[in-house]
């Protein structure tokens, strides 16, 4: 026998009232917590993908789209740009580093990106199996791609033209004959790279350039020997392929360059250089904050609804405690005659309020996790993006503290009435 048992019995004695209070609170808290989780995890994902990338140089179009396509890999690119044009910008002294990206194909909806090894290096990606790509038609798989497609080191596959939205059975999408060979698999990096298939830029050019295929394979082979030469004198092997891109393929096209600036004010200067060209420079920070604001607006609306539900749940808890206190007036007076003090009754009622909010909060946190998993699966199907952090966040600890506080406030009035009750009158009228 203890007070908690009495509170618990009282709650179970009115299961409908109790359930209504708990369900309302669970939904309110669940949605608020889900919004907080989404905001935090999406922000985190974004930050990880941005990772010091200042600008994206791509074909003219929506700057937001070029960020989405080339940094987050969730939208179609804006088009292609000429390497020769791009060179005028990326060779500017204000550019610290420029990573080329060339799109074109996909395999089972995973994008094949032509790039240099600087790209995975930038994200700190390490090969977990095999080696990093170096020759045309060699690919290194992102961890998610390897996991989902089941491709192993040594496996070969042919690509499908187009982006991740082109279904494999789409008659428009044609297969390319030249097979890619998996030479390595990356460790998970929690960035967009996990969902990409990386290959040297030359592969993507050659695959769409059947007439020159022979010639370029040769070039690539020549380049390969050259690379070995560089390696032997201790230079970074990448350098060779990068130079090769710049010097010999000026008529070639690239989808985008990810640019890291060297100094402040670079954006204005470099932007000027894109005037009168088919290119544009998108500022990652600016576009990203615009994206977060739009996205945040949606979250705020949903959060506002959730707050209304939560307020309703507290009103429900208040009414339920108040009614229960009125119904149990005689019982409470009786407890006073049996030795219970005013404080006993006060504690009993506040405790019931707290039990309700703790149960509602717990159910809400569970709901938000279920919601996150469902959302995450949908996102994975559509964007290869998922959320997997299910732990309790610091926001939720704050939310819990607020919930407890409001639980106490909701039970205070009924509890004070019990405290002040005139037991003689109550017993006489019972």
């Amino acid at each position: 026998m203890n007070l908690l048992k009495i509170s618990w019995s009282n709650m179970r004695f009115k299961p409908m009232n109790t359930a209504l209070s708990i369900v309302l609170l669970a939904f309110g808290i669940g949605i608020i917590s889900l919004m907080l989780l989404l905001k935090e995890q999406i922000g985190e994902k974004f930050d990880r993908n941005i990772k010091d990338i200042d600008f994206v140089l791509a074909a003219k179009g929506s700057p937001l789209q070029s960020i989405l396509a080339n940094v987050y890999h969730v939208d179609a690119p804006t088009g292609n740009i000429k390497v020769a044009d791009a060179k005028k910008i990326i060779r500017n002294p204000m550019v610290e580093q420029a990573i080329p990206l060339a799109y074109g194909d996909n395999y089972e909806k995973y994008r094949i990106v032509g790039t240099t090894t600087k790209y995975p290096e930038h994200y700190g990606c390490v090969v977990s199996e095999g080696v990093m790509f170096s020759e045309p038609f060699e690919v290194t798989l992102g961890s998610t791609v390897a996991q989902e497609t089941g491709l192993k080191v040594g496996a070969t596959f042919t690509s499908v033209h187009g982006f991740d939205n082109a279904a494999e059975d789409d008659p428009e999408a044609h297969h390319h004959d030249k097979p890619y060979k998996v030479v390595g698999i990356l460790q998970p990096s929690n960035s967009a790279i996990d969902n990409l298939i990386l290959t040297p830029v030359e592969s993507t050019w050659m695959v769409h350039d059947h007439g020159h295929e022979e010639e370029h394979t040769e070039t690539a082979e020549a380049d390969h020997t050259e690379e070995h030469a560089h390696e032997s004198i201790g230079e970074h092997p990448d350098h060779a392929s990068e130079e090769h891109v710049h010097d010999e393929d000026e008529e070639r096209e690239m989808t985008a360059y990810l640019i890291m600036k060297r100094n402040k004010g670079a954006f204005g200067m470099l932007s000027k250089l894109t005037e009168n060209t088919t290119m544009q420079l998108a500022n990652v920070a600016v576009e990203n904050s615009r994206l977060m604001n739009n996205f945040g607006l949606g979250l705020s609306t949903v959060t506002a609804i959730a707050i209304v539900i939560t307020v309703l749940s507290f009103i429900s808890i208040f009414i339920s405690l108040f009614n229960s206190m009125k119904e149990r007036k005689y019982e409470l007076a009786l407890m006073r005659t049996m030795g219970g003090t005013r404080r006993t009754l006060f504690t009993l009622i506040v405790q019931e309020g707290l039990l309700l909010v703790v149960l509602g909060f717990t159910a809400g946190i569970l709901l938000s996790r279920i919601g996150l998993l469902i959302l995450s699966n949908t996102m994975k199907d559509n964007f290869h993006y998922g959320f997997d952090k299910l732990g309790i966040t610091k926001w939720e600890i704050l939310l819990f503290a607020i919930t407890l506080l409001i639980g106490i406030v909701a039970s205070l009035l009924p509890a004070v009435r019990a405290l002040r009750m005139d037991i003689s009158k109550t017993l006489s009228n019972g």
Binding site: R328, T337, M338, G340, T341, R342, I423, L427
Partner: protein, 208 residues
């Protein structure tokens, strides 16, 4: 065991009462009889410390109950006074057994499950231990309420109209049980009633 001295009480904007002095020795049984409106329940509430007198003194086991503060009085009442009302009331959400454990729990005394079970079994309620009080008949409820009043071995048992809602047979049974339980416990028993049927059953009587 229980004595009063020049007890007076006045309700706000209501009637005022002055009560004859009462002296009930240890183990004594007495009847306080009076018509409606003579302040029977008021007297019982004064004796139980549920109401505070405007003047006069209630002494139980040598303690002047007016001298205790609120929560000390609540505890004192729970330990030393067993109350039985006209209709039995329970904490509806708890089982009959748990209701019997309440007085010990609320006064911070040792919670003796076996004692409660034995008491209920003695009153033929052994099969109703885990039922909700509302599942009991009126007679069963009154028996369970009497058992509950005895749980803390109170010095005084105060019964407020314990028989007025019952037929002759049940009334006699309840009075017999009250007297028997009070005797077993060595408690003083004070029954406040307007029920004339009880007049011949008690030697010691006070009329209001």
């Amino acid at each position: 065991m229980l004595s009063t001295n020049r007890l007076e009480f006045k309700y706000e904007n209501g009637p005022s009462f002055s009560f004859p002095d009462i002296a009930c020795g240890k183990g004594e049984h007495m009847l306080i009889i009076g018509e409606s409106g003579r302040g029977k329940t008021t007297l019982l509430h004064l004796l139980a410390g549920i109401l505070k007198p405007q003047s006069g003194v209630v002494e139980i086991t040598g303690v002047n109950t007016s001298s205790l503060n609120d929560s000390a009085l609540d505890r004192f009442r729970g330990k030393n006074i067993g109350l039985v009302f006209q209709t039995a009331h329970f904490v509806q959400s708890l089982s009959v057994l748990d209701n019997l454990l309440l007085p010990s729990f609320l006064t911070g005394s040792k919670v003796d499950k076996d004692k409660a079970k034995a008491a209920l079994t003695r009153l033929n309620l052994g099969d109703k231990l885990h039922s909700k009080p509302s599942k009991l008949s009126v007679g069963e409820q009154q028996r369970a309420a009497i058992a509950r009043a005895m749980m803390n071995n109170p010095a005084v048992i105060l019964a407020d109209e314990p028989t007025s809602a019952l037929d002759d047979r049940n009334a006699n049974e309840v009075i017999a049980m009250l007297e028997e339980q009070a005797s077993l416990n060595g408690s003083s028993l004070i029954i406040v009633t307007h029920d004339k049927r009880l007049k011949d059953l008690f030697n010691k009587q006070i009329s209001l």
